[in-house]
Symmetry: C2
Subunit: 361 residues, 2 copies
């Protein structure tokens, strides 16, 4: 198992990465001094696959374990599900010394993390991400949230986990669509921060698609390292951390207009990255060859780079609902060449024009 530390003063924590590490969760919790009662928040699919091993490990370490299932899918990352989770936490008798384990993908991690952040004004929680997306992105950095009918992640908190346990083997059971979508976030790190990593991805497409365990562990570790570096410099996204939103401003808007189900998050981010690359060219931060190279890598992982055609007004209003907007302008993340970024303050209309996006009205 490899260990990365996210250094955030009082909120520091370790990310543990390895193959078959899920069964060791109980002893890690004990080592950190977590006590007595735990609720594992998960969904039916993941519970069927990994619920038993996690429950047994926790129970074997002496914990009283409850399991709380939430429905599978981004559409359920909402206030109603959260209310049900609160009820279940009270029902299970969790008190201030208890803790939560988030076992699943981004939806489970975001919602369980927000529940942990707000139940009794905050109890400890542990992230056990089982999707590629969650392993390389959402489980690290302390962003927790639920969606609102008017936009993704509008209600949430910055709240760091006590540790993150990443079992690379859990990717073996991930549906192929989810796996490919997760690669969009992986590619993001390459395009916006790390040229060497981008080239590594270009050279390892076959191994990654074949789910080579060693290659996956390397890839996940690098993403977590990059994310940890950014989060350490800017825990609450007052500046630098915005780089992690590369591809997300337009991606989120499309994801929202598609109703959170037509396009899964990573698929929307893939489209958002290609549009971001086009805007970057238009603003002089990179050249057309860079767009091609980014698009090509995205396509090799079986992701589309083609934006759906949506209504202009709805798109503009979806962009404005995004948390990154301030006073009507968007802090938009451009790629500067490949492996670097630049921030431009742009109006939503400018984003549409610069991206050359086809819209209807």
């Amino acid at each position: 198992v490899s260990v990365l530390t996210v250094n955030l003063a009082d909120n520091s924590y370790d990310i543990l990465i390895g193959c078959g590490v899920m069964s060791s969760i109980g002893s890690h919790c004990v080592a950190l001094g977590l006590s007595s009662r735990v609720a594992v928040i998960t969904n039916p699919t993941v519970n069927a696959l990994y619920g038993e091993v996690v429950r047994n490990s926790l129970a074997g370490a002496g914990y009283t374990v409850s399991v709380i299932e939430i429905p599978d899918g981004e559409v359920y990352k909402n206030a109603e599900t959260l209310a049900n989770v609160y009820d279940a936490l009270i029902e299970a008798g969790l008190d201030r010394k208890s803790f939560i384990v988030a076992l699943g993908g981004g939806v489970v991690g975001d919602l369980a993390g927000f529940a942990a952040a707000t139940y009794l004004r905050g109890i400890p929680f542990v992230q056990v991400p089982t999707t590629l997306l969650a392993q390389v992105d959402s489980s690290v950095g302390g962003k927790t949230a639920i969606d609102h009918p008017r936009g993704k992640n509008l209600i949430g908190a910055f709240y760091q986990p006590r540790f993150v346990l990443i079992d690379v083997d859990s990717l073996a059971t991930l549906p192929e669509r989810e796996y490919r979508a997760g690669m969009a976030e992986v590619i993001k790190y390459g395009v916006a921060i790390d040229l060497i990593f981008f080239e590594y991805l270009e050279q390892h497409v076959d191994a990654i698609m074949a789910m080579d365990r060693e290659c996956l562990e390397t890839l996940i570790r690098r993403c977590c390292q990059l994310k940890a570096q950014v989060v350490e410099l800017d825990e609450k996204e007052s500046g630098l951390r915005a780089v992690l939103n590369y591809g997300h401003t337009l991606g989120h808007a499309f994801e929202m207009l598609a109703g959170y189900s037509e396009l899964v998050h990573g698929e929307a981010v893939a489209i958002g990255m290609v549009l971001a690359a086009r805007i970057s060219v238009a603003r002089g931060h990179c050249d057309a060859a860079d767009i091609k190279r980014v698009s090509a890598l995205i396509c090799r992982f079986g992701l589309t780079t083609q934006a759906p055609i949506v209504d202009r007004q709805r798109l503009l209003s979806a962009i404005l609902t995004d948390k990154k907007s301030a006073d009507g302008a968007i802090s938009f993340i451009c790629n500067s060449g490949i492996g670097n970024f630049a921030i431009e303050l742009l109006l939503p209309e400018e984003l549409l024009t610069l991206s050359g996006l086809e819209v209807c009205s």
Copy 2:
């Protein structure tokens, strides 16, 4: 205007106390660099009294101001009201650079603070407490929350305001019942932390009941100082801060069983303090004369010291839902003499027995 600073590293802030200071809110916000758009969250009663002066001051300082009214009363400090507030914040176009002003009593402050803590993962907020209870207690220290059908403040966050603006003159419009109830929290500081302050209260009952402005300003400043000292040592209530819950464990339980309306918070705390004093005697932390002195002061402010008779099982379960419980035992705050405290780990049944409380079954 007198200024107290709450020293919490990155989360430090000032408490400004004075007579007629509400009209200066706009310039204080500008001085702190708060920008552009603000939502004033208040209730109809307070809005009618102070909404205009606050709106005008903010607008005069260049802010775009929206006002969000929530219904008056603890029964509305719930998830439904919170959802309405989120909708209104989105509707008003508040983005990450915007901020919230909580104008009102504890309900407004707790709910608006929690909305600020969780809207877009946290935007700045300002507390303008208009009740005695909020001025001496709930507006300082960053505890924000909503209630759950199963207990008070079960959902919440620690989230510090950017500043607290206390206008002593706003107490002139407070209903007498609220004013008296607020005195319970004032007395709490004396009993649990500060004998000299307790004696000051004993000596100034008439001036306080006559709402002498100078006396009130002194009293509020002292309570805020004491609270700030405790919060600085223990921002997130891992230990010492529990002293501020003196009288609250049983108080909360009675408040909850009475349905949050029969007994207002301070009235319930007054009852809880007398019971806490009895438990303190039973555990050898003070003597019977201390109970009498505490009860006498409470009575002089027109508050009852008589607990309502409730069902034993319901009371036990209400006590256990309290956030202070951990693994079934309660960290109970006793007064040690008057002006000091001691913590005892007690089971709910022991609390009932030691307090000599009359219950039905």
